[in-house]
Amino acid sequence: MAKYILKRIVYALATIFLLIFVTFLMMQLLPGDPFTGDKAISEVTKQILMEKYGLDKSVLEQFWIYFKNVLQGDLGVSTQTGREVTRIISESFPYSFELGMRALLIATVGGITLGSYAAIRRGRMGDTVAMLISVVGVSVPSFIVAALLQYFVALKLRTIGINIFPISGWTTEFSKWLPSIALSFGSMATISRLMRTSMLDVLSSDYIKTAKAKGLSEKDIVIKHAVRNAIMPVITVLGPIAASVLTGAFVVEKVFNIPGMGKFFINSITQNDYTMIAGSALFYGAFLVFATLIVDILYVFIDPRVNFTGGKGD
């Protein structure tokens, strides 16, 4: 097992190194530079700025300097704002992380509940309603859900005197609900559909029939036996879902004006802010690689059937 974990860690580090390198190469392919503005600047000024940010050197040289700095925890300074990239990330990521975690929690709890309920009520009204919600969740983009929630829940409720949810911002506890729900909607739908399918499989298995024959209550059967086993496929997809929730929050952050990392990341790309692009990509990449690594390692403990040799499992 130790060898397996070590191997996964080496893979993770290699992935991050490749990520930094590829991001660097791709930035060089972006047309223009960070200093071309709508009003022309003198060639001398441009040269000075290129030198100041080390952009006058060859790509490999730039990469080597950057890599050395990264190892020392220095991600450089934004070419657009002059702010330290590490400071921007450390200030903005907590918003994105909290939003993502809240959304993931809602998506997981909501999806498992909805999927289980639909499976238990298979073919009945409850199943249809649950799956309709799920289809809407998959079909409607999060920015539409965000805008609808903002208008109907935050604004329209005010007209009847219910002034609970702010229109935008991330300040009070109530201000966090609507963005989290909007971001969770798509993932919740995916989880509920997966859970329903898995649950239907489990419910038709022999040991559930045995449990029923033994006279166990439906509640006990569902909670103690069915859900516990049906949840495994859901856990498997939680890693990728967590990744998409954390990196896909930009539109929700925009609608609810949350100063999360998505705003900085997108702005840096449109402004050719090289240091910010590289820093954000590295941070997101490293975060996701380590999240996947942890899930992989935890999976070993959750499911003993995982083998460490790379061959087929038992």
Binding site: L30, P31, G32, D33, F35, T36, G37, D38, K39, A40, I41, S42, E43, V44, T45, Q47, I48, L49, E51, K52, V77, Q80, T81, G82, R83, I88, E91, S92, V135, V136, V138, S139, V140, P141, I144, V145, A147, L148, Q150, Y151, F152, A154, L155, R158, P166, I167, S168, G169, K254, V255, F256, N257, I258, P259, K263, F264, N267, T270, Q271, N272
Partner: protein, 560 residues
């Protein structure tokens, strides 16, 4: 099913954005206002700042030698008075005594010379350095010395960077002097009529050297609330990046008795539905609105406001491209796209069709009135223009079948509508084939700089209140002239107007230059932009002009 639901949701969203705009019943506390800045300022270091969003914050936290009144005329600022030499070249400013920075330092003439020494020092990387340097005696030479040894040519030629002694000598040779702590003398290269109002531009604000040194470097100065210092009517008390900036009344400001607002919170809401919802909820006192929102709100009878932001919008032609090298072709394209309909369908607000290049926001419309209507735009019948187009193309050995061009523009849905309109209008009015290419803003700028395009949708906003801020764009080899167009007489007129002291003669030069633009069409002028916004009923005294995007210095809350 998916498609149906998505359509349904979009419809609901559209309804939500178009229905019900109540008059804002603000939830403010005392004289505190919350307004929408739309985006984060990129720089609050006044020397390096360039954008209007930067200017909106700096206008409230800083004060230059002069300020601007509601008509954009210069009024006393840090300089309580000034004199001008007979030849109009030497300005002597008497700095108000007793003014302080927010770090407690006194505001003196040295803060202005320090700011200008940073602005014109090539090593600071100020984008506008060479825009302003030609105006000040010796500033161009100072810029050249400080930039020595940096360009590729210098590096190849082995030119060494200037020594400290050379830099000091170059600086002392400029016409920028602090005579004493409270007297500043500026010598300019020609009697610029707009010089006084120009000094209200953010690049000419003073800078406190102690604060810059405390921040560690010019680049890290004014990047966070803790390393920003000001000398203006408001003090920055919070800067939550990508969220909000909070300003509070500066109790030590010399004119504090005339400042009626206690605080201004600038929000950075970029989503158009969100800012409208915030305004309707009474949590925003002022916000910009889109063309669609303006139309919808106007139909509902909601009071909206607008102002001419002083920007001109046009098609920029690459005259090195076959076909587009012919002025008749460029003229036919400009006049054939039906600008009135273009403005009506794409801007959907009070923007007006351009009749010349320089917008009426400059000099309160006086110059534009003197220029008059230079373009005869047909309303329905395009047959003459089509003939002109064919004639121009024939001169280049082309026909309507063999000629087409690609229109380059920014990404975004509104721009897409603009491009589609132009594509359709030129095809139906003139039989022209137009391809469209939408790219990111930064890529567009790079492609324009590299002159790698056929026709591009572009615009220009003024830096100072004089036609020259528009007219010198198109001189041969100018950094902002991406058209490859060159006209000897035009260049001559601009260089004459630069140094002409007589206002009438200067205006005559500029009018002739306008006429050349409207004959040769290196650009196809479309419209002068108006911007729309919503304002809380009780918020009064807000100034919005081409040179003061937002000014709340004289704003107040009207009691019910």
């Amino acid at each position: 099913m998916k498609k149906f639901l998505t359509t349904l949701a979009c419809f609901a969203l559209l309804l939500s954005s178009l229905t019900g705009c109540t008059s804002a019943s603000s939830q403010r506390d005392g004289s505190d206002i919350v307004v929408n800045l739309s985006s984060e300022p990129s720089k609050l270091n006044s020397v390096l700042a360039t954008g209007s969003v930067d200017g909106n914050v700096l206008r409230h936290t800083m004060l230059g030698l002069v300020g601007l009144d509601e008509n954009d005329e210069a009024e006393a600022g840090c300089a309580e008075s000034w004199t001008v030499s007979e030849d109009g070249l030497v300005y002597t400013f008497n700095i108000r005594e007793g003014m302080t920075w927010t770090n407690g330092e006194a505001v003196t003439a040295h803060d202005f010379t320090y700011a200008l020494s940073l602005l014109f020092d090539a090593r600071s990387g100020a984008s506008y350095a060479m825009t302003w340097a030609p105006i000040f005696e010796g500033a161009t030479e100072f810029f050249t010395v400080t930039g020595q040894g940096y360009s590729e040519e210098d590096v190849d030629a082995g030119v060494e960077k200037a020594t400290d002694a050379q830099v000091t000598d170059a600086w002392q040779a400029t016409g920028i002097k602090a005579v004493d702590d409270y007297t500043l003398e500026l010598t300019i290269t020609a009697p610029y009529t707009y010089f006084e109002s120009l000094l209200a531009f953010m690049n000419f604000y003073p800078v406190n050297q102690v604060a810059v040194e405390a921040a560690g470097s010019l680049d890290s100065y004014a990047t966070e609330v803790e390393n920003f210092v000001g000398n203006g009517p408001f003090v920055m008390t919070a800067w939550n990046h990508e969220d909000s900036i909070v300003l509070e009344k500066n109790e030590t400001y010399f004119n504090v008795d005339n400042i009626q607002l206690d605080s201004i919170t600038f929000k950075m809401i970029s989503d158009s539905n969100t800012w409208l919802n915030e305004f309707n909820a009474g949590t925003l006192d002022m916000t910009g609105i889109s063309g669609e929102q303006y139309q919808s709100l106007a139909e509902q009878g909601v009071t909206t406001y607008n102002y001419n932001d002083g920007s001109a919008w046009y098609l920029e032609f690459n005259t090195a491209v076959e076909g587009l090298s012919n002025a008749k072709v460029r003229e036919a394209i400009t006049l054939g796209l039906n600008a009135a309909k273009y403005v009506e369908l794409t801007e959907k607000n009070a923007s007006v069709v351009a009749t010349s290049f320089t917008p009426p926001a400059i000099l309160n419309g006086e110059f534009q009135e003197e220029v008059g209507v230079l373009m005869d735009r047909p309303e329905d019948d395009y047959s003459e223009l089509k003939a002109l187009l064919e004639e121009g193309l024939a001169e280049e050995g082309l026909t309507l079948d063999t000629f087409s061009f690609t229109l380059m523009a920014d990404e975004g849905d509104t721009t897409k509508i603009r491009c589609e309109y132009i594509q359709e209008a030129l095809n139906s009015n003139l039989g022209l084939t137009v391809n469209v290419e939408q790219i990111t803003y930064q890529t567009r700028l790079s492609r324009m700089t590299a002159k790698d395009y056929d026709v591009v949708l572009a615009g220009w906003g003024p830096d100072y209140n004089d036609p020259m801020t528009f007219m010198d764009l198109w001189v041969t080899g100018g950094g902002n002239n991406h058209t490859n167009w060159s006209n000897e007489r035009y260049d001559e007129l601009i260089s004459l107007a630069y140094v002409e002291g007589d206002a009438d003669t200067r205006t005559a030069y500029l009018i002739e230059a306008e006429e050349i633009l409207a004959t040769e069409y290196p650009i196809g002028m479309t419209h002068w932009r108006a911007r729309d916004y919503l304002l809380a009923d009780d918020l009064k005294g807000v100034v919005r002009t081409a040179f003061q995007d937002m000014d709340f210095t004289g704003a107040y809350i009207e009691a019910e």
